[in-house]
């Protein structure tokens, strides 16, 4: 039953067994240059900014007490030569010493860690939504290509691809939360309800729907278009003709053969989506008051707590590298011909 679809790169399966650990280690090491780049950029941007870096970092929050300035000077080694300053800053980031937020009276690292789960929940739901519905809608658009459904799906995709997500979020709030009252306008849990167990899960889910959908729409539109193109392309391949010739039912051809091949470009994009969704989460979380990293970044931005903002950026980049790793692992499960190298 195993047909060989068009060859991409045929790799011997033997290359995989022991290679998986080496692959993991190599990919984790890839995080190093990324973090290095970000740290370097941050470091020089801070020096490009007008004024003393400590005062830039402390900002106009009114939080610039002498002790905070002293802490910043020490953290960034501002009384040292530039190279030492750079190395000190690098060392701080590598050892996850991201400083202390006087506004929150908490270390930046524990602030970020505390907000991480809400953002991961939002991102995971939106990635699943966009991949799932993108696949489905793209498949329908390809299989019913001359029908009204396909035209409507493509129209919706073109619109979703062009709309700014923060605006979509606001309009969703107006329609679904304010006018229709189906879902809450903002937050993660109903304030003062103190639900337990299943009731809590349902409460969070009700709050999650709008932000997750908002964050997913842009990529859902992209996946729909990618999926449609890939399905149409695969349907013309020889392996489909072979399957038809030997009497495989059409439904099975689509579900077992075409789908598996068509979904590959989509999975590749999912890695890109995670980086994009992290940026999108800043506007989406601030629109919906979702208490994750994005909202923390938004608050830090408005309090001009740049040190916290830089910490969020550094840690988010590590999350992106890790997420890409997971995507690659998934890719090799779906397409065993792709060796992990």
């Amino acid at each position: 039953m195993t047909e060989v679809p068009p060859a991409v790169t045929q790799q011997a399966p033997a290359a995989r067994g022991g290679g998986r650990w080496r692959f993991l280690r190599r990919r984790l090491l890839q995080a190093v240059p990324v973090v290095l780049l970000i740290v370097t950029c941050n470091f020089f941007l801070l020096r490009l900014a007008p004024g003393d870096p400590a005062s830039v970092l402390a900002g106009e929050a009114g939080a610039a007490s002498p002790e905070y300035m002293a802490q910043l000077r020490e953290q960034f080694g501002l009384d040292q030569p530039l190279l030492i300053q750079y190395l000190a800053y690098l060392w701080n980031v590598v050892t996850l010493d991201l400083g202390y937020s006087f506004r929150y009276q908490e270390s930046n690292l524990s602030l970020i860690a505390g907000r991480m789960s809400a953002t991961l929940l939002l991102m995971a739901s939106s990635v699943l939504l966009s991949v799932g519905f993108g696949m489905l809608l793209g498949l329908v658009a390809a299989l019913r290509r001359d029908r009204v459904e396909a035209a409507l799906i493509l129209l919706a995709a073109v619109l979703a691809y062009a709309a700014p997500i923060f605006w979509l979020g606001l309009m969703f709030i107006v329609l679904f939360a304010i006018k229709l009252g189906w879902v809450p306008t903002s937050g993660m849990v109903t304030v003062g309800a103190a639900h337990q167990g299943l009731a809590h899960v349902l409460d969070v889910a009700r709050h999650l729907i709008l932000p997750a959908v908002t964050l997913s729409l842009f990529y859902m539109a992209l996946y729909t278009r990618l999926m449609r193109a890939a399905v149409l392309e695969n349907l013309r391949m020889n392996y489909v003709v072979t399957a038809q010739a030997k009497g495989v039912p059409p439904r099975r051809i689509v579900l077992r053969h075409v789908l598996r091949n068509a979904v590959l470009p989509l999975i590749t994009m999912a890695g890109v989506q995670i980086g994009g969704a992290l940026g999108g989460s800043v506007v989406v979380e601030s629109v919906f008051g979702w208490p994750g990293l994005g909202l923390l970044a938004f608050d830090a931005l408005h309090a001009r707590d740049l040190n916290l903002l830089l910490g969020i950026l550094s840690l988010s980049s590590v999350v992106v590298v890790l997420a890409n790793l997971v995507v690659d692992l998934m890719y090799s499960v779906i397409d065993p011909r792709v060796a992990l190298s």
Binding site: N42, L45, V158, A162, P164, L170, V272, G279, L301
Partner: protein, 284 residues
Amino acid sequence: MATLHLPPALRRFLRQPAAVAGALVLLGVVSLAATADLIYPGDPFDIVGRPYLPPFTDGHLLGTDTLGRDIAAGVVHGARVSLLIGTLTAVLVTAIAILIGGAAGYLGGKVDDALMRFTELFQTIPSFLFAIVVVAILEPSLETVVGAIIIVSWAPLARLVRAEVVGLRSREYVQAAIAMGMRDASVLGRQILPNALPAILVAASVMVATAILFESGLSFLGLGDPNVMSWGLMIGAGRAAIRTAWWMSGIPGIAILLTVLSINLVGDGLNEALNPRVAVGSGR
């Protein structure tokens, strides 16, 4: 039409209703932006009427915002910033992409490896978050916004240019030019790039749309130039009144949607018109 002898690419473009509609809408936005000072003379930040006026009242076509500023004036003036930032960014990003992607693809070997590693790094950074940090540190202004968008968006286009150049470099006519002793810069500039141009042009047109979305996101967060009226700024300002006056943020959003949509449609149309191979291959 039959009597006119249009270039084939233009004819292929005009044959697509969606692309023509996009071009017309875009033309409308461009002319509104160009004549903003004639239609709505004066500063769009000026308070000109009672606040919270709904559209079509008291001579305010699209109503007024929470401070009594005319929304239509804001939309028309905002079109300028969006188009300016969109085109400026796209031009600069394309130039950078041609330099880096062209060098990597043409020179190959170690240069290619190093440049592509570098490019990959920039693709891994969460782009919008990075742009926020750049603008926040350097203070919001037109220059820093454009700079930030360039930093986070040149990488994919550079990869595209590289792929095009690598594909064209092994063609016989390029090999012939090299064999005849043409200098590298000429081979790249006169032989390879003109043939890679269609693909680059399409990507650059999409870049305009992406940059407009980026700019609106930044100015929504309060990271736009505070002295320039922009669509994102208007949405951000109208947000406080979202329960009672949704149109304050609704209208500028529609302006963004229409502009970005029209540019995307034009981009798709250009793709079909300039890369007919693709058009045949994607089978309709």
